[in-house]
Every structure is written in structure tokens, then in C-alpha cells.
Amino acid sequence: MLKKTRLVLQIAFVILFTVSFFTLTRVPEAYHVPSHWFLRLNPLVSLLASAASRGIFPPLILSGITVTLLTIVFGRFFCGMLCPLGAVIDFFDRFLFKRMRIRNCRPPLWAQKIKYVMLIGLISMAVLGSMTPLFMDPVLMMTRFFTLVINPLASVAAEDSKATLTPVFNAIGLDNLSYSVIHIPLYYGGAGAATLMILIIGAGIFDRRFWCQYICPSGALLGLLSRFAIFRRRVCADTCTSCRACFVGCPTRAIAEDGRKTSTAECIVCGLCTARKKSCNSFGFAPFSRLQTCGADLERRHAFAGILGGLLLVPAIRANASLRRSDAGRCIRPPGAIPETEFLGRCISCGACMKVCPTNAIQPCTLGDGFQRVYTPKIVPRIGGCEEKCHACGYVCPTGALRKLSYEEKRFAKIGTAVIDRHRCLAWEQNKECLVCDEVCPYNAITAMIVQTTTGRFKVPVVNEDLCLGCGMCEQHCPITDQAAIIVYRFGENRRSTGPYIREKDKAEILKKRQESDSDIGVSLEGSVRGTYEEPVSRPSTAGNHGSEKETGDTPPGFAF
């Protein structure tokens, strides 16, 4: 009974997870559907993210508490039913590794304690303000794997099959299908995520539920919480013959060899034991009994080992140069990212923001950005700019590392500033008519100005830093190959952990600045670019633009007399 119910629920949740994942899209406003709720279920995520960032994100805490309470009553049901990674592991254990399992390489029973040591290590790290979300939560690992590996593969396959099937579509009169646009997101770091997943699943060759039994720190926390679970395996002492059927059948080695005692810390409530023999044991509500249950066999030294490991790992992670001011990489965070230290404590690097980003701009950080930052989101403007009318990443972030922003607030959540590399710019250096950056800028932050160079008067782009939000559209579209001639840097970014992005007194000032610098094409700018170039001394007001133009006789770009 329980076995079947669990199987049905497990399959249902895997489907739900997959559907949730693929509904994580920008269009049409699908991100308002809380499809990222799966990521908030794990109490360990709530615990570590709150501890490491020293801040509380209410939705995360609430769902964490809910699952905690349920676990206290029902045991590790999360691992057996909800966890999508557990389901995948079960699938491969059953259909691939059952026949090819290497029996004599099963890890010893004490290896189950490794996960508690890991858990304690992670908690002590979080208390010290560091978090390595690389493998703390199976749900986030699945989401990351889906984002970085499955989704790109699926999109590429879809695009290819569309191209192949186009003649078929045309033949059967469904040629409108061949006009559909398939968004193909591509990411850095896919190989790493895939390797991790292959290792986790492939460990099934040694033992069933290898990951869950020995390593998963989330499972460890849930195991500790379910010590006094009242929904548990009950053994009828009279009918039990110690036949070892339950002991052999248990995938997580939660049952003692005599079959009478169950470790609530290891039991994932899968019901395989009770399905084997019904007369002697069953699952149901029963009061706590020391005779029938035991918890994790943890000793003081294990806790010590964990704490010590955590204490040692914190400096090991922090003691690298990547958190210094450095010229290695540009780590432009998506709009609404909380300040960097808190961000590193809060971001669980699940990749939901990367999945939802319509322009593929949000990419995972790689090792070049520092070990702590691996898989956390950054904007790579050369791949895609941050869309003006989009704030999906903040809406799908499960931990509040990216804040929800209204469109208006987003106009104040500056993520960087564009800088023109004048020596590589087509207009500045080669005097070509380009101005693509001006063309694509959604905020009018780039002005075409006419300047006197040694070779004549030319129209060149100039960035108004007061208007620029660092979206990177200009960098994306810059026609210079390889590195763009207009580059977004992180300086000028506006990140707040709490409080509104728009503060009334700042707002007036910012808007005034924007008003002042919001000028049209045709503003002329005196000075020589090469040699003794001087910054513009006067910027005529908007009203006077056209007047000044006539004085110099300059025409806007594209026109000539």
C-alpha cells in the first residue's frame, strides 16, 4: 500500500518538478506562477541561507518550517517522495544498476555518518558566514542540472528536429509551425554540473541510494529531525521471525539485521519492507518507542569532526585572491542582487534566474570568478543584455538573493556602467558611421555627439553615466569582434539588502541628473580627439540643441547636404 502510494507520489512529483522547471519562463509572465516553490522546500536551504547571509527571507523560512514540522511527524518522506534527485537515483538503481551492481564494494555501515559530518560542517560554515551551495540540496542540484544541461540540450534538439521536419510540416499544411522561434539558451559550466550528476547517479553501482545514504547533507538534517516521527515502521514482535527479508529489501539500510529495530534517521518511508511481508510489519502512526526505533548513531567526535572541517574549510574557501579587488573577470550581478557578502551567503546557485532570463544574459560564474562564486549568477553582456521590461529573475529567486523589483524600481537598480573603449570604437577610432550602441540603448544613455578630430568632424557615441543602468545591450550588439568596444563594468552598481530602491530624496536628484544629461543627437562638442582632447566644456540644454547645431553647420548622422 505505502509502496504503491509512494511510487505514485514520487512519479507525480518528478512530473511536477519538470513541469515547474519548464514553466520558469519569462513569457508570457509565467514567472508569476510560483514554479520555483520546489526549491524552497528544503529546511536546510532555509537554515543555511538565513544563517550565512544573516538575514531572513520570509517565504523561504515559512516553507522550511512547514517541511520541518511534516518531517517531525512523517520522517524522511521528503527523500522518498518529494525529492526529484531521489526519484532519478531510484530509477537508475532499479533499471540500470540492479544487474550490474558491484556487490562486494558496498561501503561499510559507518559510512552513513559521513553525511552528518557534512551537515555539521556546512552549518558551522554558515554560522561563520560562508556557504558552499555546490551540493547541499538535491532539489537545487536538479534545477541546476536541468538549467545548465537538460534545457540547452532539449532546445538544440528541438531546433534541429524543427529544421528536419520543416518539409514535413509544409507538406501537411502546418507550415506555420516552421516559423516558431525556439529560444536556445546556452551556458557556461554545463560540463561541471553534468559531471557532478553523473557521479551522483553513477555511485548507484556500489549501493542503492548511495548519495542519499552516505553524502546528502539535506537528508542528514531531515534524518535528525525525524528521530521522533510517529509515522513509522511498526514491527509485530510475535509474528516476526527475523527472516531478514526487510533487512535485505531496505534500500537505505535503515533496518537492523534482526528486523525489529528501524533507524528513523535512515528510513525514507519507501515501504519496500512492508511490501515484502505484510503480516509482521506495517507503516502507520505509533508512539515513540526506544525498542523499535533508533536515531543516527552520532558521537561527540563526529560533531567535532564536522565543526573542525567547517572551521578549516571557511578559510580554505576565503583564502583566495578572488574576493580581492581583481581584474579577473567582471562579475555583474543581475538587477536586484543584494550586497555581495550577503548575496554569497544567500544565493544557492540553483540557476532558476538563468533559466528564466529571456536573453540568456545570466550565466553561471566559473572558477575564474572565485571558488565561492561558482554557479552563482552573473550577467555576461556580450551574450545578452538585460531586457528593459523584464524582472523575472527577481521573481523566481527562491531565497531572495535577487530581490523582486517593479519595472520602475528596476530603473534605479543600476547594475553597472558602460564605458566606451575609444581606441577600439569604430566611430571614435576609424571614423565610421556606426552608433549601434546608441541605436540599441533602451535608456537613451548613449548620445551621438559631433566632435572635432584631427581628421574632421565626426559623430561619435558618448555614455551618459547618469542614464546608464549597465544593461549591456550596447555591449551585446557592438559590431567589434571578440571584445566589444563598449564594455559594462560593475562600478556604479546599486545594491540594497532591504528598503526600497527608490528613495524619495535620491529619486528627485537622480531624475534631475537624468533630465540634465538627456540630450539629443546633434549636441556638438568641441575639442580634438587625438592629441590634446578635452572633455566637453559645455553641454547646451535640450532646448538649445538645434540652435547650436545650426551655428556649427553640423547635420545629424546619416544626413548630408
Binding site: R26, V181, L426, V436, E439, V440, D520, F559
Partner: protein
């Protein structure tokens, strides 16, 4: 549908095909080659032949639903361009995810009206095609074009992004744009209607029919970096020439184009014709760009297009007909 009826339809289709396509007989081959040779000689020796005749532009003020059908009527009826069962490609401006009021994209009403006209004339498929600068889904949604054509079963929005959807073309006569990848769909299309919005452009001066055709080109960056931009824009006409050009000046973006936001003038005007250069040249005179009045020939890419013999740019060679 009965079998008999089906057969009849097929026969009708065959008949139609016979009318429009030439059989590859020797006589036909000789005829066409002779005609082509004459034309080639004429084009070489008399580059002004095409420009010698005046171009007509049709200008009307009012709503898209009123004016656009009238323009087509004057041009000889939509039937002259769209045959039953044919495929139509409409090239609007939908490169930016901005509302229509910003005048950075073609008004949805205009797109709807043209698409509806084509479908009513029997078009089998109307492809509304633009290689957008910004995210395709956002552009479709925010410009209102997707919503406007939702009810038209035959109309479909096509945002080509993948290189497999483009075809490489080259033209030895071109000085700047010697080769270009244009959208493959054009090869299948029987009628190509250009339907840009009237707007200023930071590099091109104005963006109308000729500049707008860059929306069918894959690698536009090269036109900025490797070529003389204005000439490259003009030389696009070697590769693709609209059968009908209609400038949607319902609203015109007078500065800060092409992305806006800038000054928008509610002109409520449509300019139509078959000569893209003349239509563009006339549309330039509709408003003052960047606060100044220009003639068509002041816009470099329009001037170059005329010099290459694709149409008339001088106002003296353009007849304005009110509709």
C-alpha cells in the same frame, strides 16, 4: 469535400500554375534570354533609363483601415500583387519591445490591415518577418503586433535567428555589400510588402523602407564595421526589392531613433508606392527630423539608392497623389 470537388480544385490550381509559370521550352528560353540581354545592355548603357520615368507616391491621412486599402486600389488593386494561394512576406518594424505609441515599431493596426487585405485577396500564408534586435517574444508582445493578428489564421510572425534560416547571396556590381545573408523565406515569397514606421535613426538618419530591410539580414554588424554603412544600406536593393512599400507615419519618431523614446509626431499619414526610393524620399519630407527639415536626397542612403538606379529621389521626379 467530395472527391470530385477536390479534383476540380486541383485542376484549377494546375491551370493557375500554367498561367503564371513559363514552360521551359526552347522558344521561351530564347525569348527570355533575348529580353534579359536587351535589359542588361539597356541597364549598362543607359543607367538613367529607369529613373527617366516619374515615380508616383500615394499619400493619405487617416486610419490604417481606411487609407491602406485605398493605396492598394490606386496601385492597381491588391489582386495585382497577391494572387490566390500565394505567399506574402510583410516586413514591419518590430525590432524593439516598445509600445506602439513610441513610434519605434509599425503600428499594429497597419500590420493587421495589410495582412487582412492579403488574406482576403487569397494569400495562403502571410509571414510577418523581422529579425528583431531585442528578445523576440518581448517584441511580439510589447509592440502589440502579436495581439493584432491573433485572429488571422493565415498570418504568422517569424523572427529568424538561426543561421540555417538565411541564404548567402552575392552581387558583383555592389561596391560595399558584396555579399549578404538574407532570410531564406524571401525566396519562397510571391509578394514582398515593406511596411516600416517612419522614424529617425542614429546612424542612418531616417529608417524607412530601405533601411528597414536590414531586418531581413542576418549579420548586420558587418555593415557597420566592414562597409560604408549608407552605401551598404542602399545596396540591399540588389538583393531584395519590395513589391509594395508603405510607410506607416501614423506616428513618426523625430529624434532619438531607432530605439526611442523621443519626440513623437502624430502624423496619421501613410505613404505608399512601388518605388522604395521615391516612397522613402517623400516620407522624409513629412516631418522635420532632429528639428530640421530635410529633403530625400539629404539622406545619404536614399541618395545612394537613387544613384544606383533603384528609383527616384528628386522631388521633381515624384508625383504625389492624394488618396
Amino acid at each position: 469535400m467530395g472527391v470530385k470537388k477536390k479534383r476540380e480544385t486541383r485542376r484549377r490550381d494546375l491551370h493557375f500554375r500554367k498561367d503564371t509559370t513559363m514552360k521551359a521550352t526552347r522558344r521561351n528560353f530564347l525569348k527570355t534570354s533575348a529580353a534579359a540581354a536587351t535589359m542588361a545592355i539597356a541597364a549598362k548603357t543607359l543607367p538613367v533609363v529607369a529613373a527617366a520615368s516619374k515615380s508616383t507616391v500615394y499619400v493619405g491621412k487617416g486610419a490604417a483601415a481606411d487609407i491602406i486599402p485605398k493605396i492598394f486600389e490606386k496601385l492597381g488593386g491588391i489582386g495585382a500583387f497577391v494572387k490566390p494561394g500565394s505567399r506574402v512576406l510583410i516586413k514591419p518594424n518590430m525590432s524593439f519591445a516598445n509600445p506602439p505609441a513610441w513610434a519605434t515599431t509599425t503600428s499594429p493596426e497597419a500590420v493587421y490591415t495589410v495582412a487582412k487585405l492579403c488574406i482576403d485577396a487569397g494569400a495562403k500564408r502571410v509571414v510577418i518577418c523581422d529579425n528583431t534586435l531585442r528578445d523576440p517574444e518581448q517584441c511580439k508582445e510589447k509592440t502589440g503586433i502579436a495581439a493584432a493578428i491573433k485572429d488571422l489564421k493565415e498570418a504568422v510572425i517569424f523572427v529568424p535567428k538561426s543561421p540555417s534560416l538565411f541564404v548567402e547571396k552575392s552581387e558583383p556590381k555592389a561596391a560595399a555589400l558584396k555579399q549578404v545573408q538574407i532570410v531564406k523565406e524571401l525566396e519562397k515569397t510571391d509578394c514582398f510588402i515593406s511596411l516600416p514606421v517612419a522614424k529617425s535613426h542614429s546612424a542612418g538618419g531616417v529608417s524607412l523602407n530601405i533601411k528597414g530591410m536590414m531586418g531581413l539580414v542576418m549579420e548586420r554588424n558587418k555593415m557597420h564595421s566592414d562597409m560604408e554603412l549608407h552605401r551598404a544600406i542602399a545596396e540591399q536593393l540588389y538583393y531584395m526589392k519590395p513589391h509594395v512599400c508603405i510607410v506607416d507615419a501614423t506616428r513618426a519618431l523625430l529624434n532619438n531613433g531607432p530605439a526611442g523614446p523621443g519626440t513623437v509626431a502624430e502624423l496619421k499619414t501613410f505613404v505608399g508606392g512601388v518605388d522604395p526610393v521615391a516612397v522613402d524620399s517623400f516620407a522624409v519630407t513629412l516631418a522635420s527630423w532632429y528639428g530640421r527639415a530635410f529633403e530625400g536626397r539629404n539622406v545619404q542612403h536614399i541618395k545612394y539608392s537613387a544613384e544606383l538606379g533603384f528609383g527616384n529621389v528628386e522631388s521633381s521626379m515624384i508625383t504625389e497623389v492624394a488618396v
